[in-house]
């Protein structure tokens, strides 16, 4: 049974085709590179509607299947940018109606976790989901993915992008900051803000920009930004690991490709005898395969949505969704 997934919560749109056994037949995406400033929601919507038809064709070709072979369509229902989400929902409904197949809306953040579990074999991890638009520490408890800690203001990817834009390094900022950070080991004090299990990055951003304006070296600032922000992420993840007594940590989201963050997390996991997992790079950032796979899981346990119920959920919380398939994994784990 083949599911076609459409992702499009932010500036990236992606199509994925996955079967019910978890074989990924295709995963193709296209990113909008914002001209100036941040991502304008309507620009993202225009970009998605322009590229979705051609991406659909490419996905069919890569998977070696035709439209009529698709049995289910899934789409990212939220959280994300309203106009982008509504474009993806319209595309998904059109496919469902044209092919006469069922449709399911799924949660974007849970998509990241499930494709991580699928591609790494992690069973029941504490997930650190770090991307352009989200920063959350998530773990499964009582039939749902619970958010143990999250950013109280901007996502870490967004912070890196804003810093990079302000100092003239362009978009996306993460890779550029990482590149420069490797050239320095001179730490400049920057605000370290962890409140309970939550984090805050805007103070860190403003402080770094102010230091830049007063002449601090860009390499030193990139190094210090990473050390401060990543230490905050590791601390909150470590707390969740200790609290939940889980044995695995999964790093996902576009920021996961950062080597320094990975190294720091792996070191923390060793200290707790926990296993560290990370999906292959093409499944860390936003992609259609994660939506297709989560669509399979959702459909198998909960069945399809009615077309009229497929409106978007712009502030879709990770802990709003029942996760029946994890119960099975839990029982399997507790067998003597």
């Amino acid at each position: 049974m083949l599911c076609l997934g459409i992702e499009g919560t932010a500036e990236k749109t992606g199509i994925g085709i996955v079967d019910d056994k978890g074989n990924i037949l295709s995963s193709i995406g296209k990113s909008l590179i914002p001209s100036t400033g941040g991502i304008h929601p309507r620009e993202a919507a225009e970009h998605h509607s322009k590229h979705i038809p051609e991406l659909l064709k490419e996905a069919f070709e890569e998977a070696g299947v035709e439209a009529k072979d698709i049995d289910l369509v899934a789409f990212s229902q939220g959280p994300g940018l309203g106009p982008a989400l509504r474009t993806v929902a319209t595309a998904a409904r059109t496919i469902a109606l044209t092919l006469g197949i069922p449709i399911v809306g799924v949660n974007h953040c849970i998509g990241h976790i499930e494709i991580g579990r699928l591609t790494t074999g992690a069973e029941d991890p504490v997930s650190l989901y770090v991307s352009g638009g989200n920063t959350q520490v998530i773990a499964f408890e009582e039939n749902r993915y619970r958010v143990f800690g999250e950013t109280l203001d901007i996502a870490i990817g967004n912070m890196l992008d804003q810093f990079s834009r302000e100092v003239g390094m362009g978009h996306p900022g993460g890779p550029k900051v990482e590149e420069l950070a490797e050239k320095s080991s001179n730490y400049i004090r920057l605000p370290y803000t962890v409140k309970g299990m939550d984090l805050a990055f805007s103070g860190l951003l403003t402080a770094a920009l102010r230091k830049y304006e007063t002449g601090a070296e860009l390499e030193d600032l990139c190094y210090s930004l990473q050390e401060t922000a990543f230490s905050m992420l590791v601390e909150v993840t470590e707390r969740a690991l200790a609290h939940t007594k889980k044995r695995e940590v999964l790093l996902c989201g576009g920021v996961a490709v950062n080597k320094r963050l990975r190294t720091m997390l792996e070191k923390m996991c060793d200290g707790h005898y926990a296993k560290f997992f990370m999906p292959p790079p093409e499944y860390c950032g936003d992609n259609g395969a994660m939506i297709a796979w989560l669509g399979q899981l959702t459909y198998k346990y909960k069945g399809p949505d009615r077309i009229e119920d497929t409106t978007i959920i712009q502030r879709y919380r990770t802990d709003q969704v029942d996760i029946p398939w994890m119960e099975e994994t839990k029982e399997k784990l507790e067998l003597p």
Binding site: R42, T90, L97
Partner: protein, 82 residues
């Protein structure tokens, strides 16, 4: 622009009823619960023509509503024609 009021009626004629019906059903959920308070939209289907009515207090809201709706119609059409 604080003009009194701007409204438009659109007729989008498709080549057959099946195409019109799919597009109508695919975009209806977005039209019927659009978050914007600055414009009201209504949609109807008559044979192979989609009838759209948009009413707004200002031209920016009107253009936003119109542009997103026509974008969805074109997207749905391009997918059906794949």
């Amino acid at each position: 622009m604080k003009l009194q009021q701007i409204q438009g009626e659109f007729q989008i004629q498709l080549e057959d009823e099946k195409t019109a019906h799919i597009i109508w059903e695919a975009i209806k959920p977005e039209i019927e619960n659009s978050p914007s308070t600055r414009s009201k939209m209504k949609i109807k289907l008559e044979d192979k023509t989609i009838l759209l009515k948009i009413e707004s207090r200002d031209s920016t809201a009107f253009r936003a509503a119109m542009n997103s709706t026509l974008r969805w119609i074109k997207l749905a059409y391009d997918i059906i024609k794949l």
